[in-house]
């Protein structure tokens, strides 16, 4: 598409990157077809092509108001549009830039800033989040309606094998996960232990940086990334093979460390190395021989929800499903599997109505095949779907762990 970026942005790295992305868009509209918000709202301005146009206008110096900001806020950053776009438009990067600029052009009101700041401080902060979670779980029976539903059920912790192998991998024991779904990483540790790999954590590591980064606190996000690099580095120097991520939302972020910290002389090289070492659980499996696990599932029907950060963000499609099938599970058909469940990081909190509509559609699609269990690969989707589904929800690695034979 033709562009004419105004002077103010034309000479900035952000402006140049945005321009390069915009020039790739040929305005064909294909991306609108798979955008969840466009499907719900039917308004060009809530479609990827419309948002691209809104960002283009801003960069071309047109007046912007909170309307542009709202349309960008409503975007889930699910990147379904990227998967669909034949021209290779990197929408995810463009919208990050667009959000940053619009935030400066049209600052938010006090109350909204406060909520967003609260999310940035609480979610990534493990002790605070866990304390709140415990409180919530205790009072869940008396917490009213929608809010009560949001609190995940209590789950007992299961054992984590002591490190005994020479092959070691780090696992990101991320902000919300250890408290809300403690068994996911424990399951991963047990399965990998059988494969001759010890899974270890770096206690200092924390949130991957996604929460802050996607609420447009980009500096805060980058700080979280640097802290993680520092926390992981000693293990990496000792020869740890990979950084395993069981939450695809965190994985997609850690894989971007190299790109995001490229301008930081002190961290650029390390960040690149970390990004290379980062592996989604499916990718760890790909390199191992699974026969030793003696997987033998019996007549269990599974509906798989592919998180956006797995299928669109990391472009890993159909892989977890394949492992589940190989393990003996029966996978049910799930319509519109490319669509977001509405969790999308903090979206369920910042855009409750749209998020609930997406959740309703998603749960219907997942439960249509009457599965015994719903499996997924990301903590955000896991907890979100759980609030709407009658069927139990698990991480796929928990299912694999359940059916490992002697």
């Amino acid at each position: 598409m033709q562009t004419s970026i105004v002077q103010k942005y034309a000479n900035t790295p952000q402006g140049q990157q945005a321009d390069a992305i915009l020039r790739k868009c040929v305005h064909c509209g294909f991306c609108t077809a798979t955008c969840p918000t466009y499907q719900l709202l039917g308004d060009e301005l809530d479609s990827p092509r419309g948002r691209i146009y809104l960002i283009k206008q801003m960069l071309e110096g047109a007046e912007v108001t909170e309307k542009t900001r709202n349309h960008l806020d409503r975007c889930l950053t699910c990147r379904s549009c990227e998967t669909t776009c034949p021209s290779g438009v990197e929408y995810g990067k463009l919208v990050d830039i667009g959000r940053d600029l619009v935030e400066k052009e049209v600052p938010r009101g006090f109350v909204e800033r406060l909520t967003r700041q609260a999310l940035i401080s609480v979610l990534p902060n493990r002790p605070v989040f866990n304390a709140l979670l415990k409180l919530g779980q205790t009072f869940k029976p008396v917490v009213p309606g929608a809010l009560g539903k949001k609190i995940p059920p209590k789950r007992a912790k299961t054992p984590w094998p002591a490190p005994r192998h020479t092959r070691r991998m780090l696992v990101l024991d991320a902000c919300a996960q250890p408290g809300a779904t403690p068994n996911v990483n424990a399951s991963a540790a047990r399965v990998l232990d059988r494969l001759g790999i010890s899974l270890v954590t770096a206690p200092e590591a924390g949130c991957c940086g996604a929460v802050a980064y996607h609420l447009n606190d980009q500096a805060g996000g980058l700080d979280a990334m640097r802290a993680n690099i520092d926390a992981w580095w000693p293990e990496i120097e000792k020869g740890c093979e990979a950084i395993v991520i069981t939450a695809s939302g965190c994985g997609v972020m850690v894989k971007e460390y190299g790109h995001l910290l490229a301008g930081d002389a002190a961290y650029a090289k390390k960040a690149r190395r970390i990004a290379e070492l980062c592996k989604d659980m499916t990718e760890v499996f790909a390199a191992e021989s699974l026969e030793q696990l003696n997987l033998s599932a019996q007549e269990q029907k599974v509906a798989f929800h592919a998180p956006c950060t797995l299928q669109h963000g990391q472009k890993i499609v159909g892989v977890a499903e394949r492992y589940l099938r190989e393990a003996g599970f029966e996978l049910t058909m799930v319509a519109d599997s490319h669509l977001c469940c509405g969790s999308a990081g903090t979206y369920s909190i910042t855009q409750p109505e749209l998020s609930q509509s997406l959740l309703k559609n998603k749960v219907e699609a997942l439960e249509a095949g009457r599965p015994d269990v719903i499996a997924t690969a990301n903590i955000g989707c896991h907890l979100h779907i759980e609030t709407g589904a009658q069927t139990p929800v698990k991480h796929w690695i928990e299912l694999i762990d359940d059916v490992c034979g002697a």
Partner: protein
């Protein structure tokens, strides 16, 4: 490329019209269904043909028929033009807004109203995506045949307005052969039901006039579409050639052998490489041209035809012929073909998609001429097209930020269309006339036809408020164009700047 700036209404007139119509529309629509500020309007200024842009005065997004009727009445009483927009994937600027008019965006009206699997009929609102229709009826073993390459996104309303074709129209026809009934709202708010559920409806066949009328007669608010049973077996052959002309001749050979493929499509090297980059479909990227030939029917029919096609292609000089191994690979082959236009966006910031037709026999010569023009204009041109029906889509690649290149692309396009007409073809195969090819219409119809077109339009829309300035040129315009049409139509629009 520039937005259209000359020949526009004065701002004062636009402001006055806006002041008159907005209160009326506010009484009909909620605030999020009405766009009036520059910020909200700009994303609607163009469709799939991005070089042509014009700011709408107002955008309205109705959610039901009653709202459409009320909007039409309001516009008629205030003498304000209405331009209907579907998914905005059109490639001739048909949905380009009017600077002093209301743009009616139909995207909120996208519901399926009824599926009757026994009668094989689906009733839909016009904003539904073409591919969503087929997806919805697949569980009944049915599908909707017309499949434009843009089917993932384009709307049924747009398909009807453009009489869209697709890769399967060779065997199953265009939109006009697959729509049974349409409900249309005319500019005075009247409701017309055209066609009927049976094959031959009584009365004048106004459906045929509606289909392909580019939003100039009324707004389609509902359509009943004919569904077909999914063929028992479908297979696709892919044939790679090391020469474009040879591939062109092979197309004629297949048809001459008495085979009617379900689809017969060709991609040249540039386009197949772009599509391969996007999808990894396994296309032979070394090839100068790739032919995709689909056959469907019963298992025996398909088996027999696949053997025949393979034989014909080999004899015609194909270097590599292979049959897609399963449905997944077949779908991938087609997805690559259908994504080829926008995939070219990876190689070039802008492209100008042409849409000429020629008799099949002329393919080798015309393809060569188009290819030779690359040097003359200093621009690359990819070619993807519906080979079976001789519908060419040359994609001229250029950089829209460079005015010289944009101008050259324009001239290149004109020369291609002129070449098509010289070889006994037409200036539009399926993308419609819109604003883009309105002058060429004067060349295509030098006689009485234009007068009759206008008379038909006025019968529906006496004040000529529906999508004015599109599809049928005025006689004045043609007089002016004919006067200036000395060198292959290389001339600027009188009031519409081409890009």
């Amino acid at each position: 490329m520039t937005a259209i700036q000359s020949g526009l209404l004065d701002q004062a007139i636009i402001d006055d019209r806006r002041a008159r119509i907005v209160p009326k529309l506010q009484a009909i629509l909620s605030s999020d269904q009405l766009k009036v500020t520059q910020e909200d309007l700009a994303p609607f200024e163009t469709d799939g043909l991005a070089p042509y842009r014009r700011m709408p005065m107002v955008v309205a997004l109705p959610t039901d028929k009653a709202q459409v009727i009320a909007i039409m009445k309001a516009c008629q009483s205030e003498d304000i033009p209405v331009v209907t927009r579907g998914a905005g994937t059109g490639l001739s600027g048909g949905a380009m807004p009017h600077e002093g008019g209301v743009l009616l965006s139909m995207t909120k009206m996208n519901a399926i109203q009824n599926i009757d699997p026994d009668a094989r009929i689906i009733t839909v609102q016009p904003g539904i995506r073409n591919a969503a229709v087929t997806q919805a009826v697949a569980p009944y073993g049915l599908y909707y045949a017309p499949d434009p390459s843009s089917q993932i996104a384009c709307s049924i309303g747009g398909n009807i307005a453009e009489n869209s074709g697709g890769v399967h129209c060779l065997k199953y026809g265009l939109t006009v052969h697959n729509v049974l009934q349409a409900t249309v709202i005319t500019i005075d708010g009247g409701e017309l039901t055209l066609g009927g559920e049976s094959l031959d409806a009584p009365g004048l066949d106004l459906m045929a006039a509606l289909i392909g009328s580019e939003g100039m007669l009324g707004v389609v608010v509902e359509a009943k579409l004919k569904l077909l049973p999914i063929p028992q077996v479908t297979k696709v052959v892919s044939a790679a050639f090391d020469d474009l002309g040879t591939a062109g001749r092979a197309v004629g050979d297949i048809i001459a052998a008495g085979i009617i493929p379900a689809g017969l499509e060709m991609m040249d090297k540039l386009s197949l490489q772009a599509a391969e980059n996007f999808l990894n479909a396994g296309y032979p990227t070394w090839a100068e041209a790739l032919l995709l030939c689909e056959v469907d029917g019963t298992a025996e029919e398909v088996q027999e035809h696949i053997e025949d096609v393979t034989q014909v292609l080999k004899t015609a000089g194909a270097v590599e012929v292979k049959v897609a191994r399963d449905d997944a690979e077949r779908e991938l082959f087609w997805k690559g073909r259908k994504s080829a236009f926008p995939a070219v966006g990876q190689i070039s910031p802008d492209y100008y998609c042409m849409d000429g037709t020629i008799p099949r026999g002329e393919l080798p010569e015309v393809l060569q001429k188009i290819s030779d023009m690359q040097d003359k204009y200093g621009l690359q041109c990819a070619n993807v097209f519906h080979a079976g029906d001789g519908n060419l889509h040359p994609l001229i690649m250029f950089d829209g930020n460079d005015p010289v290149q944009a101008e050259k692309a324009q001239q290149y396009g004109s020369e291609i269309l002129t070449t098509c007409v010289e070889h006994g073809g037409t200036i539009t195969g399926e993308h419609g006339v819109g604003v883009e090819k309105i002058n060429e219409m004067c060349v295509q119809f030098p006689g009485e036809e234009l007068t009759q077109f206008h008379a038909l339009k006025r019968a529906f829309d006496a004040k000529e408020l529906m999508n004015p300035g599109k599809a049928i040129p005025t006689l004045n315009r043609c007089a002016e164009f004919g006067h200036m049409h000395v060198h292959h139509g290389e001339m600027p629009h009188p009031e519409l700047e081409r890009f």
